[in-house]
């Protein structure tokens, strides 16, 4: 039976959903070992695994890319997993590729489907899937939301094994602090209606038009990441992987392509309507209704009907 290691992702004393998503999938593929770096007290939440390997040390209290990398590396080197699952998340990105080089194991990233010997990756902003065949042990980094989390939550009583931390003296990277986002004027996670603007709105001057539509619909404006990076709207309006997860009654996406990092934040909205001139935009796979009109025509047309 395959021996699958799942690297546990945790933050502020909580095991993150991605961990349970990976554990659920791993259980279908073989025998699951959860690798828990720091936060040993969280072992009680990992009943879905048959074994837990804990590495704990004061320098692992907060996520530290370098210290976590070294610890995962030591755990993987000491065992002989057939597959190591890591989240394709902000933390996981600091672990997977380094592990691939140090352990000389192939890495397949952006995985949405895994079976023994083959992995499907979602690439090109969600426009193409690529299946890879891998023989031998490998590292797979898994996109959040690919597998149900519930399948990974269960009440087993795994064997817990402590492993001494590797030498973590003389780290180059030191954790200083967490900076919480400033509260915005509007909490987009509490809105029933979100009108969301993407790069398709072209420039800052077009933001008010979207705001007006949102106001007419009794909701607020949210957006994709490039709008925030361009400083056209504040960070508190960003939906997605590095932004907020929203679940409004209506999510109206205007000029958003539907990159996986955006989808992660809005796919559970009750009603998704997308407007995008590109009929192949991935957003249409997640939307309930779609139109390929120009958003600059659709906005006035909608406004005119209210």
């Amino acid at each position: 039976m395959s021996n699958i290691y799942v690297i546990v992702e945790h933050f502020k004393g909580q095991v993150e959903d991605i961990t349970f998503e990976m554990m659920g999938k791993a259980k279908e593929l073989g025998d699951v070992t959860a690798v828990l770096i720091g936060a040993k007290d969280l072992a009680s939440q990992l009943g879905g695994a048959s074994k837990i390997i804990c590495v704990d040390d004061p320098s692992l209290n907060n996520f530290n890319p370098e210290a976590y990398c070294k610890s995962v590396d030591a755990v993987v080197a000491a065992g002989s997993p057939d597959m190591v699952l890591v989240g394709n998340t902000s933390m996981g990105m600091d672990i997977a590729a380094g592990l691939s080089v140090s352990q000389n194991m192939p890495l397949v990233a952006y995985a949405t489907e895994i079976s023994s010997g083959s992995v499907v990756s979602q690439l090109y902003g969600g426009k193409m899937n690529v299946e890879s065949s891998v023989s031998g042990a490998c590292v797979v980094s898994v996109l959040a939301g690919s597998f149900p989390a519930d399948a990974g939550r269960s009440d087993g009583s795994p064997v817990v094994e402590d492993m001494a931390a590797p030498d973590l003296s003389g780290l180059s990277v030191k954790f200083r602090k967490l900076i919480e986002p400033e509260g915005g004027d509007v909490d987009i996670t509490a809105q029933e209606v979100l009108v969301s603007a993407g790069r398709g709105i072209q420039n800052e001057d077009n933001v008010p038009m979207v705001e007006e539509l949102a106001a007419k619909l009794g909701g607020a404006v949210s957006c994709s990441r490039p709008i925030v990076d361009n400083k056209w709207l504040g960070k508190t309006r960003q939906v997605g992987k590095s932004g907020l997860k929203v679940k409004p009654k209506l999510y109206l996406a205007l000029g958003i392509s539907g990159a996986p990092e955006h989808i992660e934040g809005m796919k559970d909205a009750e009603l998704i309507i997308a407007c995008n001139t590109d009929p192949n935009a991935p957003i249409f796979e997640y939307a309930h209704y779609g139109c390929t009109a120009d958003l600059f025509d659709l906005i006035p047309a909608l406004s005119g009907k209210m």
């Binding site: 890319p65 990105m93 590729a97 380094g98 952006y110 690439l123 954790f175 900076i179 590095s242």
Partner: protein, 253 residues
């Protein structure tokens, strides 16, 4: 500080993507390329750092179609040096292959900080930053949104979900996967790029070692479209009418 910024071209997703005859790769004949958007952010953050603290910025790329233009653009924006790694890098190059070739070249140039784009739309076998760091024996932090200098070395911000940011300090050498620069990446008009290209030499370094992905592409396919949206057409008036009906029926408007 010597900052090295690897840049690469990726397919422009505005265009329709086609699969080639092998069924394993994109049809690259008519593909329109553009510089990976996150590389633009990496270069911007490197230039901001240099402008604030001094140092040099070197843009480096593997030899591929149109890469000279991208390197000239980097020079026009303010890179001090541009380097092309020569070798067989046509078509789809795996991240492991690219990282090994880049790491050898970067090692030979010397570096304090490497800033790459955090990811690219085609890095099937992993993000380059972590692979590079592995080869270079340097620490690696990704999803970085700010790099500043202070008395203890570098202060970097890394983004988690929900807009939470972790602050780290680090010594060099270090490899950083940049998500977003502090400022919107600067734009240079074509005329300025043309001007920068005159009399500019692209240094060339021949790729030495090699590495492969360790996995093989067996199939490329378009997503099946899950449940898929019910399409309301491309006429704005008609679509707006239908959308209003849907909203009314759901009690939203």
């Amino acid at each position: 500080m010597n900052i090295v910024v690897p840049i690469k071209q990726v397919p422009d997703l505005v265009e329709e993507l086609e699969i080639d005859g092998s069924g394993k790769d994109l049809n690259r004949e008519w593909l329109k390329n553009k510089v990976n958007e996150f590389d633009d952010h990496a270069l911007e953050e490197a230039l901001l750092y240099k402008e604030a603290n001094g140092g040099t910025v070197t843009a480096i790329a593997l030899d591929s179609d149109d890469i000279e233009k991208a390197l000239f653009a980097a020079a026009a924006k303010g890179a001090d040096k541009v380097v092309k790694v020569t070798g067989d890098f046509g078509g789809a190059v795996s991240s492991h292959t690219a990282a090994k070739a880049l790491a050898d070249a970067i090692q030979s140039i010397g570096f304090d900080i490497v800033m790459t784009g955090v990811q690219a739309v085609d890095d099937r076998d992993g993000q380059i930053a972590g692979l590079l760091a592995g080869h270079l024996g340097a620490a690696n932090v990704n999803v970085v949104t700010s790099v500043e200098k202070d008395a203890d070395g570098l202060v970097i911000h890394k983004e988690y979900s929900g807009g939470v940011v972790a602050e780290f300090e680090t010594s060099t050498p270090v490899v950083l996967g940049i998500q977003a620069a502090k400022e919107t990446p600067r734009y240079v008009p074509v005329a300025k790029i043309r001007k920068a290209s005159r009399g500019l030499t692209i240094d060339e370094i021949a790729a030495s070692g090699s590495a492969d992905a360790g996995s093989e592409v067996s199939r490329m396919f378009k997503p099946e479209g899950g449940a898929g949206a019910e399409m309301l057409g491309d006429d704005a008036e008609a679509a707006a009418t239908k959308i209003m009906e849907i909203l009314t029926s759901k009690g939203i408007k």
